[in-house]
């Protein structure tokens, strides 16, 4: 039967059947009582707390010095006694040695260490660590600079000063800057474990050596260097432990997407515990799975104990994914105006709720997609798992040698179901189409949208046609498509789609094929459709572009000014 311009028949092929998940053994769930820490709490550790107490003591001491003249005199006298005694031990040899050690605190030493770390972190694309490093180092230099200005503390009195210095003495800026830079290097470049443990005593030795040389040369008093060291350790330590906790953002040197979080160690234990408590699953093993096909989350395969053991699929989402999503959407808004639903999520919780909701919608609409098992909280508002059925014994559509009419019909029927249910998947690509027993399953429904624009639905159709055509001929796919979609709909699909609307994996698959499938489809159409423009210009987009450019410029100028005042330029 020739298709008509009207609504095409829906009864082509077999009806879409929701896949039947395997039976998963579930035990009792446990509710976390009020006040109990979540599975993966963020902690400062004991050492962090000790340093924070030391910093509080420093602040108390400063408050005492400022508010009470007796305290100030007492500190001056104590410093004088120590510096005087140390000066009594001066020898020509020791003085030469101390003047050499003094170079550790020179601006050039700190500049070299600082910029080398910045370059290394940029090269390693470890941007979160980079920002914490920049922030912590600049905070320490700015904080010590402001405090030095506030406390107008003199250099050691009554002793000949043998080294170079500038400005007020307390806190010692060379010690604070060196300590903060070394701590930043340690926490952003050294992986947790042996190397980081070994680095701590090295830093302690270097900072102690510099501090002693400063006291020996009477450039600083003991209180200046002790306080500076405490500030220099505490600020980066707290910043790194709070913003880039090792369990969440480990420093590693193996290759992989920055979107993929480490699921070993404490996080692995937390995921085990959370799955058991919240879903009643007895977990045997958690392993990363299909990392290459995922850039926005960490996909996992969860082995559930039972007879036989079963598998579940889980996606781990964290704040980093939320931020990536935000940047991705901002980038698309700037580059193309507005594609569809480019409003960012506010929280990780909202993000996982969207995915779980989309899964349930798909399931309810009769689209063959994984059965949702629910959301698991790892750290409130920071990390969540979306758990679904694991589609076993399936192959990615892109991995098949070729597809037959049955698979083509099944794939196209998914699009028809989506259209009828008022949904769009928005990420139709080979990795998201699994084939098992000749049936196509649609996965990764994170981008799904309810009541999308006709343009977006048309793009879904075009992408499905293109994916299928990578494994057979456009002629075959077009012939089968005309059984479920009319010529106008297919033409609209190819009018709507262009490079940017195709997922990058699909573009790569077509490049690998060495064929321009889009053009081949266009040749099959009765007439070439007029392309639908993607670029949307609006006052909002122009305003956003100007705003972003100004913010970038402001950030750059602020950073340059901060670097300059911190002596790092």
């Amino acid at each position: 039967m020739e298709p008509t311009a009207g609504r095409p028949p829906l009864d082509v092929g077999e009806p879409a059947v929701v896949s039947r998940p395997q039976r998963v053994s579930r035990a009792g769930q446990r509710r976390r009582p009020s006040g109990e820490a979540p599975p993966l709490p963020r902690t400062l550790n004991r050492s962090g707390q000790v340093w924070l107490i030391a910093a509080a003591a420093v602040l108390l001491l400063w408050a005492g010095v400022v508010s009470n003249q007796r305290t100030a005199v007492w500190v001056l006298e104590a410093d004088h006694a120590v510096v005087n005694w140390v000066a009594g031990t001066r020898t020509t040899l020791l003085t030469g040695l101390m003047q050499t050690v003094h170079a550790l605190g020179s601006r050039w030493t700190i500049r070299v260490l600082f910029w080398a770390t910045v370059v290394a972190l940029v090269a390693l694309r470890r941007f979160r660590h980079l920002f914490v490093f920049l922030g912590a180092t600049l905070a320490v230099t700015a904080f010590t600079g402001v405090l030095a200005y506030l406390f107008v503390w003199p250099r050691p009195l009554g002793v000949e000063i043998l080294g170079d210095w500038s400005g007020y003495a307390n806190p010692s800026r060379p010690v604070a800057a060196l300590t903060a830079t070394l701590m930043g290097m340690l926490y952003s470049l050294a992986p947790a474990g042996g190397l980081r443990r070994a680095g701590k005593p090295v830093i302690a030795v270097l900072v102690t050596a510099l501090s002693f040389s400063l006291v020996y040369l009477a450039v600083n008093s003991p209180s200046d260097v002790v306080i500076a060291a405490i500030v220099g350790v505490t600020v980066p330590l707290v910043a790194f432990r709070m913003v880039t906790p090792n369990e969440v953002f480990p420093v590693t040197y193996h290759r992989g997407s920055s979107a993929h979080l480490d699921v070993g160690g404490r996080r692995g234990q937390a995921i085990h515990q959370a799955l058991e408590d919240q879903l009643g699953l007895q977990v045997a093993e958690i392993k990363p799975f299909g990392l290459s096909g995922s850039a926005g989350s960490t996909p996992l395969r969860v082995t559930v104990k039972g007879d036989p053991e079963t598998w579940l699929f889980a996606k781990l989402y964290a704040g980093s994914h939320l931020r990536s999503d935000r940047w991705y959407k901002l980038g698309r808004t700037l580059l193309y105006g507005r594609l569809e639903d480019e409003k960012p999520f506010n929280t990780v919780r909202r993000l996982v709720q969207q995915e779980d909701y989309a899964l349930r919608l798909m399931h309810g609409a009769g689209v063959r997609s994984p059965e949702p098992f629910g959301i698991v909280e790892i750290t409130p508002e920071r990390e969540y798992l979306v758990v679904t059925e694991f589609i076993t014994d399936a192959q990615e559509l892109g991995d098949l040698d070729q597809v037959d009419d049955r698979i083509i019909d099944d794939g196209l029927r998914i699009i028809r179901r989506l259209w009828d249910a008022g949904l769009a998947h928005r990420d139709i690509k080979p990795a998201n189409l699994l084939v098992r027993d000749g049936r196509v399953h649609l996965i990764d429904v994170f981008f799904a949208e309810v009541r999308p624009s006709p343009w977006r639905q048309a793009v879904d159709l075009a992408n499905m046609l293109l994916v299928l055509a990578t494994r057979c001929s456009p002629e075959q796919v077009y012939r089968r498509a005309r059984l479920q979609f009319n010529d106008d709909e297919i033409a609209e699909a190819f009018a709507a789609t262009s490079g940017i609307t195709m997922p990058s994996q699909l573009r790569k698959a077509m490049r690998d094929e060495g064929r321009d499938l889009h053009k081949e489809f266009l040749r099959l159409l009765p007439e070439w459709p007029r392309p639908i423009a993607i670029q949307r210009w609006s006052i909002r987009r122009v305003g956003l572009m100007i705003g972003v450019a100004m913010l970038v410029l402001l950030a750059l100028l602020t950073a340059l000014s901060s670097f300059e005042s911190a002596g790092l330029l």
Binding site: T43, L44, Q49, I53, L59, P154, L157, G158, V159, E160
Partner: protein, 196 residues
Amino acid sequence: MRRLLLAAVVCLLATGCVRPASTELSQVRVPACRYQGRQGTALVILMAQAVPTASQLPCVELLPAGWSVRDIFVRNGRVRFTLDSDRVGTNAVRVVLERFCTFGRVTRVPSDHPGTRRYQEVISIDPGRRYQGAIYYLFPGGCVTYRLDFRSDEQARPLGEVSLALGFVTRDALRQTLSDFTDGEVPLDPPPEPAS
């Protein structure tokens, strides 16, 4: 943990609140010749440490209306601060204390500060628009330069104001101030080397 953070914040706030930004604070942060009845401030003590040989330290006596101190820089061997004026421009006077001075074409004139020798130098005059010159004060162990740059048709009045605004504290007076502050426990300078 929260208590710790709270304590730290309270301390920080307390530190800031004990002496809110006041005239007292700003007095300490300018090289004032006198503060609370004593000669010199903490900043002048730091200046004395920068040039340990200087028997006199430059300071601000009383700023005439429209003048302000800015850009104070102290390091070993050199002290610098600047006076801005709302009439003769920013950087109107740059005061530098060093162990030695390099003179241009100077003329010796009677000094208005005891214990110092005064020299003057006219660098350039753009009649009615700009005057550039220098005043040098020489004293045992140091030299102070006032580098003048008046962007105005006036010359005599700002020069008079500068003479009123800037003065000197003797090192001995500063020693006494520190001794009073620390009950004589902490001296300003190291004890003199025993004569060999």
